[in-house]
């Protein structure tokens, strides 16, 4: 009995076959997932989307909060603290952070287990009575009115969400801080002050509103990158999503799957760009009339 099995065709032959398939709407067969690539991507997408969105929202809010704080208190202690916090996050290997999270929150405290659901919840979800509307556990649990499953899925999401948030908040905070510094230097902020508006109004209404503009673009990109880059987090927390899948297919050189994933990522980028383009005029009236 041979331990492993599977000799692959040369890459270029697989690629040619794949291109042919894509043109006819077929992304090919994933050896790793043992199913068509498109099916695999589609069934994993809700999980990753759920994770990323849940991480992205606090990430964005935190980045905006911390970044504007740092900008306002430039070179004073809040700025230093935030700067150190972000630079630490920036320099910390994700997997170390993730494993530490696992150590603390699962091993020691038994709060946030790995995986997507506990077995009992999994049994409920797979049973015929539970309708899989979206594939995202939290939303499906709400739609099915099953609070136990909802809580359980949140518990499973907590650790990866915290990890993702911490790792990604650094870069966005930096952008926000730079942007805030930039805006605080703008003449219109001076105008707002000269009008006698209170400090908070000046900083939060006039400065932050404008500082959000570059952040919107970056955040769109960041979200897209997160959608394609949650590889390590998902691997560590045994969270069956696209990142874990992509990592596995990449290591196995499962080309149809890897190429399919690349295609998916490109689509995400395009869609994110589109969304940013749609949101941007709401934030910046200068864009609308162009």
């Amino acid at each position: 009995m041979i331990e492993q099995y599977g000799l692959n065709d040369p890459f270029y032959i697989q690629y040619g076959r794949w291109i042919g398939g894509v043109l006819s709407g077929n992304l090919g067969w994933s050896e790793t997932a043992r199913q068509p690539v498109s099916t695999a991507l589609m069934s994993l997408f809700p999980a990753t989307l759920e994770l990323v969105v849940l991480a992205f929202i606090p990430c964005l809010l935190l980045a905006v909060f911390l970044g504007s704080r740092a900008g306002i208190y430039l070179n004073r202690w809040p700025d230093h603290v935030i700067r150190i916090f972000t630079i630490l996050g920036w320099s910390f290997p994700v997997y170390v952070f993730g494993l530490l999270m696992l150590l603390i929150f699962y091993s020691a405290l038994d709060w946030f287990p790995p995986g997507r659901l506990s077995q009992w919840a999994q049994t409920i979800v797979t049973s015929g009575d539970f309708v899989r509307y979206t594939g995202a556990n939290t939303i499906d649990a709400i739609l099915n009115g099953n609070w136990a499953v909802f809580i359980d899925s949140l518990r499973h999401l907590a650790a990866p969400v915290i990890t993702l948030t911490y790792v990604n908040v650094a870069s966005m905070t930096r952008v926000m801080r730079t942007s805030m510094l930039e805006t605080l230097r703008q003449d219109y902020v001076r105008t707002a002050r000269a009008k006698g508006l209170p400090r908070r109004v000046v900083e939060l209404k006039h400065a932050r509103r404008n500082a959000l503009l570059p952040v919107a673009t970056i955040a769109g990109m960041e979200l897209a990158v997160m959608m394609g880059g949650v590889v390590i987090t998902e691997t560590i927390f045994d969270y069956a999503g696209l990142g874990q899948f992509a990592a596995k297919t990449a290591a196995n050189l499962d080309f149809p799957a890897v190429l399919g994933f690349g295609l998916y990522f490109a689509v995400v980028l395009v869609v994110m760009n589109l969304i940013v383009d749609l949101i941007y005029p709401l934030l910046d009236p200068r864009v609308k009339t162009q």
Partner: protein, 308 residues
């Protein structure tokens, strides 16, 4: 010329603002602090236009911003002197010593400022109307509807054509001259008793500059407020000012009525300045171009003069 110093803030009846021995330094905490304004004094009376002139970097803007108490945002601090201002209720306040909260309440309502560059001084994401009304809502506690009406009236006051429509436009939809008018409208909205204009026309085209100057003059006649007009263009000074303060390296080297300063400049620097001013028509009877009859200003001589 300079009112006697007194420990309790007092001002002669007709004086709106008195700057006394004002000293402003940058980066005060580090060793290399820089004194941008070095003990200047001047007054502005009710309805008067005082021009502050001087070369670039002489401290004109810092003076203006300090009166508004805005320099502290750039890391500067008032290291000496007083800025006395007569408020609308008749009381006299020392702006240099007020708490931030008090100053916030005075900015825009008692005194206001118009900056040089109308392109960047308006917030691009809010409508013109909002930006004018904002201060009104804030200082006078008006409802948004009332504030909008005031904003509209102010826009009309600064001769913005088609004011109703402009109210809901964003700054980028306006031309440079229009924007500067909007800036003036913002400054005027709460009818302050003092308006500071920091080189309001430098960024504008010559033809537009003339309109803004006309506007300022007209407004002053209509509302009767005091104006501190900062410029380095002696031509502009000649057109708008009642009195002139000439600044050099953070100090005021000469103060006088506009007629005196132009006709009989006393300080060497002022003389050098006036000699360098191109005057339209001065060449009307010359065939070939001629160099400026420059008086060279040498700092040493000025120091010697000051010592006399």
């Amino acid at each position: 010329m300079i009112p006697a110093k007194s420990s309790t803030p007092e001002l002669p009846e007709d004086v709106i603002l008195a700057v006394e021995d004002l000293e402003v330094s940058f980066a005060v905490r580090s060793r290399a602090s820089f004194r941008a304004v070095r003990g200047i004094s001047f007054t502005i009376s009710r309805g008067e236009t005082v021009a502050l002139v001087g070369e670039s970097g002489s401290g004109k803007s810092v003076t203006a911003m300090t009166i508004m108490r805005l320099t502290e945002y750039d890391g500067a601090a008032i290291t000496g002197g007083r800025v006395l201002m007569r408020l609308k209720d008749g009381k006299v306040a020392d702006l240099a010593k007020l708490s931030d909260k008090r100053v916030e309440a005075l900015r825009g309502s008692e005194m206001s400022i118009v900056f040089q560059d109308p392109m960047s001084s308006l917030n691009p994401v809010f409508t013109v109307g909002d930006q004018i009304a904002e201060a009104v809502v804030h200082h006078q506690g008006k409802t948004p509807t009332q504030a909008r009406q005031i904003a509209l009236n102010t826009l009309k006051l600064v001769r913005v054509p088609d004011a109703e429509r402009r109210l809901d436009q964003y700054p980028h939809q306006l031309s440079g001259g229009m924007r500067q008018r909007v800036m003036i409208a913002i400054a005027l909205a709460c009818r302050p008793s003092l308006m500071i204009l920091d080189e309001p026309t430098t960024a504008l085209d010559v033809t537009i500059q003339a309109q803004i100057l006309d506007l300022v003059r007209a407004l002053q006649q209509e509302i009767g407020m005091s104006v501190l007009f900062i410029t380095h263009d002696m031509g502009v000074v000649a057109e708008v000012a009642d009195r002139v303060c000439v600044m050099l390296k953070g100090e005021i080297v000469e103060t006088g009525t506009v007629y005196d300063v132009f006709a009989k400049p006393r300080h060497a620097y002022t003389r050098a300045l006036i000699s360098a001013v191109p005057r339209l028509g001065s060449m009307a009877d010359k065939d070939a171009p001629e160099k400026f009859p420059l008086l060279v200003f040498e700092p040493e001589r000025q120091i010697a003069e000051a010592g006399k």
